[in-house]
């Protein structure tokens, strides 16, 4: 079956530009996660959505970052006024249910380069 898909796969933005990154989770998965992977770094948790519950935004690095999940499915991560330090791979993952033992299935990521 189809896995997690993300678009665009690559994005080049000028500093100060707003960008929107899309994630389509696996159909039926109620939990959705966003991570950031910087060069030479591990994965950094950004935000978590579970059903209709309030999202856990504790990992968002600044108020320039926001995310929404519409209809319990597609999610969009928005970065306003991008900075060079925002350059990274942004990964989306989904899992069937909430809970630490649930396997998180990752998408291929969006590679963002801010010039």
């Amino acid at each position: 079956g189809a896995g997690v898909s993300q678009s665009p796969r690559y994005k080049v933005a000028k500093r100060g530009q707003d960008v929107a990154l899309r994630c389509d989770p696996i159909s039926g998965h109620t939990a959705l996660y966003w991570y950031r992977q910087s060069l030479g770094q591990g994965l950094e948790f950004l935000i978590y959505f579970q059903g209709n519950s309030a999202p856990d935004k504790s990992g968002l690095p600044s108020d320039r970052f926001s995310a929404e999940r519409t209809g319990g499915s597609v999610s969009t991560l928005t970065i306003q006024r991008t900075q060079q330090e925002d350059s990274a791979v942004y990964l989306c993952a989904s899992s069937a249910r909430a809970g630490g033992l649930e396997t998180q299935y990752f998408g291929p990521g969006t590679r963002l380069l801010v010039l």
């Binding site: 996660y33 030479g40 591990g42 978590y48 856990d56 909430a98 990752f106």
Partner: protein, 115 residues
């Protein structure tokens, strides 16, 4: 504060050899330790995971060894193959907490298996 420290940063192994990647954690509340494998241009994928009630878990050529008193765990890849060449991430989470979905990742190990 880096809660999960991973080493080495990179590793080169000959085909047929044993690859060993080590991780150490600080938070004694962690009780779930997965390993993820990531190929270039792809998202991470769950490889194998362990709970602290066992000291070792084996799946095919992949084995996790866990030392609770030392707060360390390691991934052993037996009979390493060129197809194992990838970046490996260890992670940890606390299943009992309200944020049990949060995985704390190590910085990754780039494994190259030479033919």
């Amino acid at each position: 504060q880096q809660q999960v420290k991973q080493s080495p940063q990179s590793l080169i192994v000959q085909k047929g050899g044993i690859s060993i990647i080590n991780c150490a954690y600080e938070n004694t509340a962690f009780d779930y330790f997965p390993w993820y494998q990531q190929f270039p241009g792809k998202g991470p994928a769950l490889l194998i995971a362990i709970r602290p009630d066992v000291s070792e878990k084996k799946e095919g050529r992949f084995t996790i060894s866990f030392n609770k008193s030392a707060k360390q765990f390691s991934l052993h890849i037996m009979d390493s193959q060129p197809g194992d060449s990838a970046t490996y991430f260890c992670a940890a989470s606390y299943l009992g907490g309200g944020s049990n979905y949060k995985l704390t990742f190590g910085k990754g190990t780039l494994l190259t298996v030479n033919p």
